[in-house]
């Protein structure tokens, strides 16, 4: 089982698919990586030699922002928006959609599971 960037262990999938199990590596970057290292993206991840794994790891480490570092980067950006008390920061703080979507209905991804309010129209009082 190849192991890249700490905990990530992509299994018997095609190499370019298994690389995508790393946060920050999508379809494009996965193929790009294969090309840089010079391995066939259609090979199974388990057929990689230690040498190739090491190569992949160094390139990812050097050129890409992945996993924890990426998460910290994103978190820092959100933190910045909050600190300068911009509108977007405020939306992050309130866990509401940030990019101008409606929040009268829907927006469940941000708002989380429905919290029923007693006495509201359409809700039967018990």
């Amino acid at each position: 089982m190849p192991r890249i960037q700490g905990v990530d262990i992509p299994p018997d999938k095609l190499l370019h698919i298994s690389l995508r199990y790393l946060r920050g590596i999508g379809p494009t970057t996965a193929l790009e990586l294969c090309e840089k290292v010079g391995v066939d993206p259609m090979r199974r991840a388990k057929t990689l030699t230690d040498d190739e794994v090491a190569k992949l790891a160094t390139i990812i480490d050097r050129d890409y922002l992945v996993e924890g570092a990426l998460r910290r980067f994103d978190g820092g950006n959100i933190q910045r928006l909050k600190e300068i008390k911009s509108y977007r920061g405020e939306r992050h703080r309130k866990n509401l959609p940030v990019r101008g979507q409606r929040s009268k209905t829907n927006a469940r991804t941000r708002k989380g599971i429905r919290k029923t309010v007693a006495g509201k129209k359409g809700v039967k009082d018990k």
């Binding site: 910045r80 300068i84 509108y87 977007r88 405020e90 309010v117 007693a118 006495g119």
Partner: protein, 95 residues
């Protein structure tokens, strides 16, 4: 979609002129309605009074704010909580 690079950032020319005029000395707040004006690096340290449709809110521009728009710092809506439950009104504020 973001604005084309060719055009450069949108800046209210008259506002930029006002900032340039008071550069360094007397930093009195500048009243403005142009919420859509991008904050330029030159604006850092200036205080604006940005209209939110009702009142002028003081916005002190820091370095971090460069590239944002003035309006982002002058909220136009006031949310005072939903009617009814007092406990519920307090809960989101505590979050």
């Amino acid at each position: 979609m973001s604005r084309s690079i060719k055009k450069g950032p949108y800046v209210d020319e008259r506002l930029a002129a006002k900032v340039a005029k008071q550069a360094g000395n007397n930093r009195t707040p500048i009243k403005t309605w142009s919420r859509d004006c991008t904050i330029l690096p030159d604006f850092v340290g200036t205080t604006f009074e940005v209209h939110n449709g009702k009142a002028f809110l003081k916005v002190y521009v820091t370095e971090e704010m460069v590239g944002h728009k003035l309006g982002e710092f002058s909220p136009t809506r006031t949310f005072k909580g939903h009617s009814g439950g007092k406990a519920k009104a307090a809960a989101p504020a505590a979050k």
